[in-house]
Symmetry: C2
Subunit: 197 residues, 2 copies
C-alpha cells in the first residue's frame, strides 16, 4: 500500500512544483494535496528535495532509455534523428508537468543530488551527439561540430514545453516532423545562398 501512496505523493508533488515552483511549494502543500497530516507524509518521504530528485531522475532516465533504444536499432542516422525528435517531443508533451519540473526546477537541487541529474543530462547530450557522429561517419550528415549541433537540436526540442498547448493546431508528431525536416535538410545539404561566408 505504501507504494501506491508514494506514487500518489509524487504525482501531487509534480503538480505543485509545476504550478507554483519547487521553492514556493511547502511540504504542508503536498500533505494537503494528498489529504495527509504533515507528520504522516514524512512516513512516506524523506524530504521535499528527495521528491524533486525522484521526479527529475525518472524523467531524465526515460529520455535516456528511449534514445538508447533508438541508437540500438539498425536504422540509418537520418532515421534515428527523426525518431529521436519524435520521441522527445511526444514524451515531453504527454508528461508536460514532469518535463517542466525536470527542465525548470531541477537546478534547485543541492549537491550531490543536482550532480546526479546533471550527469544523466550530460549522458543524454552524449547520446544525441552519437546520432550525429554516426551520420557524419556514414557520410549522411555534413556536421563539423556534432556536440554543438546536438545541443541546438536538443534545445529546440526541450523548449517545446514552454510553448506547446494541446489547443494548438499541430499534434506533437506534426511539430516533431516540422523540426526534423529542418534539421535533416540542415545536416544533409551544404550551401548558404544569399549569405556571405
Amino acid at each position: 500500500m505504501a507504494s501506491n501512496r508514494q506514487k500518489e505523493i509524487a504525482l501531487a508533488a509534480v503538480k505543485l512544483f509545476e504550478q507554483k515552483g519547487y521553492h514556493a511549494t511547502s511540504v504542508q502543500d503536498i500533505a494537503d494535496e494528498v489529504g495527509l497530516q504533515k507528520g504522516s507524509l514524512y512516513h512516506y518521504i524523506h524530504s521535499k528535495e528527495d521528491l524533486l530528485l525522484q521526479i527529475a531522475h525518472e524523467a531524465i532516465t526515460e529520455f535516456n532509455d528511449n534514445l538508447q533504444a533508438v541508437l540500438d536499432t539498425d536504422m540509418s542516422a537520418p532515421e534515428k534523428l527523426v525518431k529521436a525528435v519524435e520521441n522527445h517531443i511526444t514524451v515531453s508533451v504527454s508528461n508536460m508537468e514532469t518535463t517542466t519540473v525536470l527542465l525548470r526546477e531541477a537546478f534547485s537541487l543541492g549537491d550531490p543530488q543536482h550532480q546526479v541529474i546533471q550527469d544523466l543530462t550530460d549522458k543524454y547530450v552524449d547520446l544525441w551527439t552519437q546520432v550525429l557522429e554516426e551520420g557524419a561517419r556514414s557520410g549522411e550528415f555534413h556536421v563539423r561540430e556534432p556536440k554543438v549541433v546536438a545541443l541546438a537540436i536538443l534545445g529546440a526540442c526541450n523548449w517545446v514545453y514552454r510553448w506547446y498547448r494541446q489547443s494548438g493546431q499541430l499534434t506533437p508528431s506534426q511539430v516533431a516532423r516540422v523540426f526534423s525536416d529542418m534539421f535533416l535538410n540542415g545536416l544533409t545539404s551544404d550551401n548558404h545562398p544569399g549569405v556571405q561566408q
Copy 2:
C-alpha cells in the same frame, strides 16, 4: 544618487535570483548583498516581485529591440536569420545571469506582471516568425510552418544559457555560426535522403 543605488540593487537581485532562484531569495538577502538595512531597501524598491519584473522586462525588451533593428535593415532573409541568431546568442552569453532570470524565473511573476513579460515574449516570437515569412515570400526559404520553425530556432538559441560555458572551446559567435549554418541549410534545401516520408 537613488538611480545608482537602484541599479546596484537590481544587479544584486539578478545575481541572487540566478544563484538561488527567485523564491529562495529573500528581500533580506538582497539588502545584505548591497549593505542596506531591509527597511532602507524599501526606500528604493516596492517589492521583490517588482525587481523580478524590472529585470525580465529589460532583458526581453533588449532582445526585441535587437531583432526589430535587424528586421528594419534591407538585408536578405538569410542574412537577417544569421544576424538574429548571432545577436541572440552573444547577448545571452554576455548577460548570462540576466538571461537565466528571464528564461528560468519569470514564470514566478503573478498576474498582471507575468502577462507583461508573456506579451513581450509573444512579440519576440512574432518577430522571428517575420524573418521566416520574409524568406518564404522571397522564395529564399522553404518553410510551411514559419511560426513552428521560429520556435525551433528560438528554442535552440534560448537553450544556450543552459550549457554554454566561457571555458568551452567555441566563442558565442562560433556557436551562432554552427547554429545558423544548420538552420540556413535546413530552410534553403528540400530533400531528406535516407528517410521515408
